[in-house]
Protein backbone atom coordinates (compact mmCIF):
# COMPACT_ATOMS: atom_id res chain seq x y z
CA UNK A 1 0.00 0.00 0.00
CA UNK A 2 1.52 3.33 -1.07
CA UNK A 3 1.22 6.62 0.78
CA UNK A 4 -0.11 9.90 -0.63
CA UNK A 5 3.37 11.19 -1.48
CA UNK A 6 4.09 8.13 -3.63
CA UNK A 7 0.74 8.43 -5.37
CA UNK A 8 1.32 12.11 -5.98
CA UNK A 9 4.31 11.17 -8.14
CA UNK A 10 2.10 8.88 -10.20
CA UNK A 11 -0.73 11.34 -10.86
CA UNK A 12 0.85 12.82 -14.01
CA UNK A 13 1.48 9.45 -15.58
CA UNK A 14 -2.07 8.53 -14.59
CA UNK A 15 -3.72 11.44 -16.40
CA UNK A 16 -1.38 10.90 -19.36
CA UNK A 17 -2.48 7.25 -19.59
CA UNK A 18 1.11 6.11 -19.03
CA UNK A 19 0.73 4.41 -15.66
CA UNK A 20 1.13 0.64 -15.57
CA UNK A 21 -2.17 -1.20 -15.02
CA UNK A 22 -1.33 -2.48 -11.52
CA UNK A 23 -0.38 0.96 -10.11
CA UNK A 24 -3.32 2.48 -11.90
CA UNK A 25 -5.70 0.09 -10.12
CA UNK A 26 -4.12 0.84 -6.75
CA UNK A 27 -4.41 4.58 -7.37
CA UNK A 28 -8.05 4.29 -8.41
CA UNK A 29 -8.75 2.38 -5.21
CA UNK A 30 -6.92 5.02 -3.13
CA UNK A 31 -8.52 8.13 -4.62
CA UNK A 32 -12.11 7.92 -3.27
CA UNK A 33 -10.88 7.85 0.33
CA UNK A 34 -8.19 10.54 0.00
CA UNK A 35 -9.16 14.18 -0.29
CA UNK A 36 -5.54 15.33 -0.75
CA UNK A 37 -4.86 13.07 -3.74
CA UNK A 38 -8.30 13.75 -5.25
CA UNK A 39 -7.63 17.48 -4.93
CA UNK A 40 -4.17 17.14 -6.46
CA UNK A 41 -5.62 15.15 -9.36
CA UNK A 42 -8.35 17.78 -9.89
CA UNK A 43 -5.77 20.58 -10.00
CA UNK A 44 -3.72 18.69 -12.56
CA UNK A 45 -6.77 18.05 -14.69
CA UNK A 46 -7.65 21.77 -14.60
CA UNK A 47 -4.09 22.65 -15.56
CA UNK A 48 -4.28 20.16 -18.40
CA UNK A 49 -7.47 21.76 -19.63
CA UNK A 50 -5.91 25.25 -19.67
CA UNK A 51 -2.72 23.97 -21.34
CA UNK A 52 -4.72 22.30 -24.08
CA UNK A 53 -6.79 25.43 -24.65
CA UNK A 54 -3.78 27.71 -25.18
CA UNK A 55 -4.10 29.47 -28.55
CA UNK A 56 -1.67 27.82 -30.99
CA UNK A 57 1.01 29.93 -32.61
CA UNK A 58 0.25 29.94 -36.32
CA UNK A 59 2.94 30.14 -39.01
CA UNK A 60 3.01 33.39 -40.96
CA UNK A 61 1.35 33.37 -44.43
CA UNK A 62 4.75 33.66 -46.17
CA UNK A 63 6.21 30.67 -44.34
CA UNK A 64 5.93 28.17 -47.19
CA UNK A 65 7.09 30.59 -49.91
CA UNK A 66 10.10 31.58 -47.79
CA UNK A 67 10.93 27.92 -47.24
CA UNK A 68 10.99 27.07 -50.95
CA UNK A 69 13.07 30.16 -51.66
CA UNK A 70 15.51 28.88 -49.05
CA UNK A 71 15.56 25.44 -50.67
CA UNK A 72 16.30 27.04 -54.04
CA UNK A 73 19.20 29.01 -52.53
CA UNK A 74 20.54 25.89 -50.84
CA UNK A 75 20.39 23.92 -54.10
CA UNK A 76 22.23 26.65 -55.99
CA UNK A 77 25.09 26.21 -53.58
CA UNK A 78 26.87 28.89 -51.64
CA UNK A 79 27.96 32.09 -53.43
CA UNK A 80 31.67 32.98 -53.61
CA UNK A 81 31.06 35.43 -50.78
CA UNK A 82 29.47 32.72 -48.56
CA UNK A 83 32.26 30.27 -49.40
CA UNK A 84 34.82 32.93 -48.54
CA UNK A 85 33.26 33.68 -45.18
CA UNK A 86 32.82 29.98 -44.41
CA UNK A 87 36.60 29.65 -44.01
CA UNK A 88 37.04 28.56 -40.39
CA UNK A 89 38.06 31.23 -37.91
CA UNK A 90 41.31 29.34 -37.21
CA UNK A 91 42.25 29.59 -40.90
CA UNK A 92 41.74 33.36 -40.79
CA UNK A 93 43.95 33.60 -37.72
CA UNK A 94 46.61 31.36 -39.28
CA UNK A 95 46.51 33.36 -42.53
CA UNK A 96 46.84 36.64 -40.66
CA UNK A 97 49.76 35.31 -38.65
CA UNK A 98 51.51 34.03 -41.79
CA UNK A 99 51.03 37.40 -43.48
CA UNK A 100 52.47 39.21 -40.46
CA UNK A 101 55.50 36.89 -40.35
CA UNK A 102 56.00 37.33 -44.10
CA UNK A 103 55.93 41.10 -43.84
CA UNK A 104 58.33 41.04 -40.91
CA UNK A 105 60.78 38.88 -42.90
CA UNK A 106 60.47 41.15 -45.92
CA UNK A 107 61.27 44.19 -43.85
CA UNK A 108 64.16 42.55 -42.02
CA UNK A 109 65.78 41.12 -45.20
CA UNK A 110 65.16 44.12 -47.45
CA UNK A 111 67.07 47.40 -47.86
CA UNK A 112 67.67 49.41 -44.70
CA UNK A 113 65.16 52.13 -44.05
CA UNK A 114 65.67 55.35 -46.03
CA UNK A 115 66.90 58.34 -44.14
CA UNK A 116 65.20 61.73 -44.33
CA UNK A 117 67.90 62.81 -46.73
CA UNK A 118 67.26 59.78 -48.97
CA UNK A 119 63.58 60.60 -49.09
CA UNK A 120 64.41 64.18 -50.09
CA UNK A 121 66.52 62.88 -52.99
CA UNK A 122 63.74 60.53 -54.11
CA UNK A 123 61.26 63.38 -54.00
CA UNK A 124 63.61 65.59 -56.02
CA UNK A 125 64.15 62.85 -58.60
CA UNK A 126 60.39 62.32 -59.00
CA UNK A 127 59.99 66.03 -59.50
CA UNK A 128 62.60 65.93 -62.27
CA UNK A 129 60.80 62.95 -63.90
CA UNK A 130 57.68 65.01 -64.19
CA UNK A 131 59.61 67.89 -65.69
CA UNK A 132 61.45 65.55 -68.08
CA UNK A 133 58.20 64.18 -69.43
CA UNK A 134 57.09 67.71 -70.10
CA UNK A 135 60.43 69.02 -71.45
CA UNK A 136 62.92 66.45 -72.85
CA UNK A 137 65.59 69.13 -73.19
CA UNK A 138 66.25 68.84 -69.48
CA UNK A 139 67.49 65.25 -69.94
CA UNK A 140 71.04 66.42 -69.78
CA UNK A 141 70.32 68.17 -66.50
CA UNK A 142 69.05 64.85 -65.05
CA UNK A 143 72.27 63.12 -66.14
CA UNK A 144 74.18 65.79 -64.25
CA UNK A 145 72.00 65.25 -61.20
CA UNK A 146 72.38 61.43 -61.32
CA UNK A 147 76.15 61.67 -61.63
CA UNK A 148 76.16 64.14 -58.73
CA UNK A 149 74.01 61.79 -56.58
CA UNK A 150 76.32 58.87 -57.42
CA UNK A 151 79.34 60.82 -56.30
CA UNK A 152 77.53 61.80 -53.07
CA UNK A 153 76.74 58.15 -52.27
CA UNK A 154 80.34 57.13 -52.88
Amino acid sequence: MKGCEAYNHELDAYIDGELDPRTSELLQAHLPGCGACTGALGRRESLEHVLRSLPPVQPSPQFEARFWARVARAEEGPSWRERWFRVPRLAWVAGGAALAVGLALLVSLGDPALSAQDWAIVADAEGFDLVLEADPELLAALDVLESWRGSEEL
Binding site: D16, L47, V50, R52, L54, P55, V57, F63, R66
Partner: protein
Protein backbone atom coordinates in the same frame (compact mmCIF):
# COMPACT_ATOMS: atom_id res chain seq x y z
CA UNK B 1 8.39 9.84 -45.96
CA UNK B 2 9.36 6.82 -48.05
CA UNK B 3 7.69 8.53 -51.03
CA UNK B 4 9.70 11.66 -50.24
CA UNK B 5 12.86 9.57 -50.23
CA UNK B 6 11.91 8.34 -53.69
CA UNK B 7 11.93 11.94 -54.94
CA UNK B 8 8.20 12.68 -54.69
CA UNK B 9 8.09 16.42 -54.05
CA UNK B 10 4.32 16.39 -53.57
CA UNK B 11 4.72 13.89 -50.74
CA UNK B 12 7.18 16.24 -49.09
CA UNK B 13 4.80 19.17 -49.54
CA UNK B 14 2.06 17.15 -47.84
CA UNK B 15 4.34 16.42 -44.88
CA UNK B 16 5.45 20.04 -44.80
CA UNK B 17 1.86 21.35 -44.65
CA UNK B 18 0.80 18.80 -42.08
CA UNK B 19 3.67 19.40 -39.68
CA UNK B 20 4.28 23.13 -40.12
CA UNK B 21 1.62 24.29 -37.59
CA UNK B 22 2.67 21.95 -34.74
CA UNK B 23 6.35 22.55 -35.43
CA UNK B 24 6.06 26.35 -35.45
CA UNK B 25 3.88 26.19 -32.34
CA UNK B 26 6.41 24.00 -30.51
CA UNK B 27 9.37 26.19 -31.46
CA UNK B 28 7.52 29.42 -30.66
CA UNK B 29 7.06 28.16 -27.10
CA UNK B 30 10.66 27.02 -26.88
CA UNK B 31 12.64 30.05 -28.14
CA UNK B 32 12.31 33.76 -27.29
CA UNK B 33 11.37 35.27 -30.65
CA UNK B 34 8.53 34.29 -32.93
CA UNK B 35 10.50 35.19 -36.09
CA UNK B 36 13.41 33.07 -34.91
CA UNK B 37 11.03 30.17 -34.21
CA UNK B 38 9.89 30.30 -37.85
CA UNK B 39 13.47 30.38 -39.10
CA UNK B 40 14.28 27.34 -36.99
CA UNK B 41 11.17 25.54 -38.28
CA UNK B 42 12.37 26.21 -41.81
CA UNK B 43 15.80 24.93 -40.88
CA UNK B 44 14.21 21.69 -39.59
CA UNK B 45 12.38 21.15 -42.88
CA UNK B 46 15.44 22.10 -44.89
CA UNK B 47 17.54 19.50 -43.10
CA UNK B 48 14.87 16.87 -43.66
CA UNK B 49 14.57 17.84 -47.32
CA UNK B 50 18.31 17.69 -47.85
CA UNK B 51 18.59 14.32 -46.05
CA UNK B 52 15.50 12.80 -47.69
CA UNK B 53 17.36 10.26 -49.80
CA UNK B 54 19.17 8.94 -46.71
CA UNK B 55 16.00 8.51 -44.61
CA UNK B 56 15.69 5.17 -42.81
CA UNK B 57 12.31 4.44 -41.21
CA UNK B 58 13.73 3.51 -37.81
CA UNK B 59 11.40 5.85 -35.91
CA UNK B 60 8.21 7.75 -36.57
CA UNK B 61 8.60 10.80 -38.76
CA UNK B 62 7.33 13.06 -35.95
CA UNK B 63 10.08 11.75 -33.65
CA UNK B 64 12.73 12.66 -36.20
CA UNK B 65 11.15 16.05 -36.84
CA UNK B 66 10.86 17.05 -33.18
CA UNK B 67 14.32 15.68 -32.36
CA UNK B 68 15.84 18.07 -34.88
CA UNK B 69 13.60 20.88 -33.64
CA UNK B 70 14.51 20.25 -30.02
CA UNK B 71 18.24 20.25 -30.75
CA UNK B 72 17.98 23.48 -32.74
CA UNK B 73 15.92 25.06 -29.96
CA UNK B 74 18.52 24.10 -27.34
CA UNK B 75 21.30 25.60 -29.48
CA UNK B 76 19.27 28.75 -29.93
CA UNK B 77 18.56 29.03 -26.21
CA UNK B 78 22.21 28.51 -25.46
CA UNK B 79 23.06 31.41 -27.80
CA UNK B 80 20.29 33.53 -26.26
CA UNK B 81 21.63 32.97 -22.77
CA UNK B 82 25.11 33.89 -23.90
CA UNK B 83 23.65 37.15 -25.20
CA UNK B 84 21.87 37.55 -21.83
CA UNK B 85 18.44 37.53 -23.38
CA UNK B 86 15.52 36.41 -21.29
CA UNK B 87 13.53 33.66 -22.97
CA UNK B 88 9.93 34.10 -24.08
CA UNK B 89 9.35 37.57 -22.70
CA UNK B 90 6.48 38.18 -25.06
CA UNK B 91 3.89 35.50 -24.33
CA UNK B 92 1.77 34.50 -27.28
CA UNK B 93 -1.41 35.63 -25.54
CA UNK B 94 0.01 39.16 -25.28
CA UNK B 95 0.09 39.28 -29.06
CA UNK B 96 -3.59 38.32 -29.38
CA UNK B 97 -6.24 40.93 -29.99
CA UNK B 98 -8.24 42.13 -27.02
CA UNK B 99 -11.50 40.30 -26.47
CA UNK B 100 -14.78 41.87 -27.50
CA UNK B 101 -16.21 44.37 -24.96
CA UNK B 102 -18.21 42.63 -22.28
CA UNK B 103 -16.79 39.21 -22.97
CA UNK B 104 -15.96 38.58 -19.32
CA UNK B 105 -15.31 34.89 -19.80
CA UNK B 106 -12.92 35.46 -22.66
CA UNK B 107 -11.06 38.02 -20.62
CA UNK B 108 -10.74 35.57 -17.76
CA UNK B 109 -9.62 32.88 -20.19
CA UNK B 110 -7.03 35.24 -21.63
CA UNK B 111 -5.71 36.02 -18.15
CA UNK B 112 -5.39 32.32 -17.35
CA UNK B 113 -3.68 31.61 -20.67
CA UNK B 114 -1.28 34.53 -20.13
CA UNK B 115 -0.39 33.25 -16.69
CA UNK B 116 0.16 29.74 -18.02
CA UNK B 117 2.33 30.95 -20.88
CA UNK B 118 4.46 33.05 -18.54
CA UNK B 119 4.86 30.06 -16.21
CA UNK B 120 5.68 27.78 -19.15
CA UNK B 121 8.35 30.19 -20.34
CA UNK B 122 10.10 29.94 -16.99
CA UNK B 123 10.31 26.15 -16.93
CA UNK B 124 13.70 24.56 -17.57
CA UNK B 125 14.03 23.70 -21.28
CA UNK B 126 13.77 19.94 -20.99
CA UNK B 127 10.76 20.09 -18.69
CA UNK B 128 9.10 22.54 -21.06
CA UNK B 129 9.90 20.44 -24.12
CA UNK B 130 8.66 17.23 -22.49
CA UNK B 131 5.39 18.82 -21.35
CA UNK B 132 4.75 20.54 -24.70
CA UNK B 133 5.41 17.34 -26.63
CA UNK B 134 2.98 15.52 -24.35
CA UNK B 135 0.20 18.11 -24.12
CA UNK B 136 0.34 19.90 -27.46
CA UNK B 137 1.72 17.20 -29.73
CA UNK B 138 0.17 14.20 -27.99
CA UNK B 139 3.38 12.18 -27.99
CA UNK B 140 3.69 9.23 -25.60
CA UNK B 141 6.45 9.03 -22.99
CA UNK B 142 8.49 6.57 -25.07
CA UNK B 143 8.42 8.82 -28.10
CA UNK B 144 9.26 11.91 -26.03
CA UNK B 145 12.17 9.92 -24.62
CA UNK B 146 13.44 9.36 -28.17
CA UNK B 147 13.08 13.05 -29.01
CA UNK B 148 14.90 14.19 -25.88
CA UNK B 149 17.39 11.32 -25.98
CA UNK B 150 16.36 10.29 -22.47
CA UNK B 151 14.72 7.31 -20.76
CA UNK B 152 10.96 6.96 -20.30
CA UNK B 153 11.50 7.18 -16.53
CA UNK B 154 13.28 10.53 -17.02
CA UNK B 155 10.41 11.79 -19.17
CA UNK B 156 7.91 10.77 -16.48
CA UNK B 157 9.94 12.71 -13.94
CA UNK B 158 10.37 15.75 -16.24
CA UNK B 159 6.62 15.96 -16.86
CA UNK B 160 5.80 15.53 -13.18
CA UNK B 161 8.21 18.29 -12.17
CA UNK B 162 6.96 20.54 -14.98
CA UNK B 163 3.36 20.27 -13.81
CA UNK B 164 4.37 20.72 -10.17
CA UNK B 165 6.27 23.90 -11.09
CA UNK B 166 3.41 25.27 -13.15
CA UNK B 167 0.90 24.66 -10.36
CA UNK B 168 3.22 26.24 -7.80
CA UNK B 169 3.76 29.32 -9.99
CA UNK B 170 0.07 29.70 -10.70
CA UNK B 171 -0.57 29.62 -6.95
CA UNK B 172 1.77 32.57 -6.42
CA UNK B 173 -0.03 35.90 -5.93
CA UNK B 174 0.11 38.17 -9.02
CA UNK B 175 2.65 40.95 -8.73
Amino acid sequence: MLQVRGGDRRAFEALFRRYTPPLVNFLARMVPERARAEELAQEVFLRIYQARDRYEPRARFSTWLFSIAHNLALNELSRSYRKRERPLEDPVVERMQDPQPGAEQRLEGKRAARAIEAALARLPERQRAALLLRVEQGLGYAEIADVLDASSASVKSLIHRARESLLARLDEPES
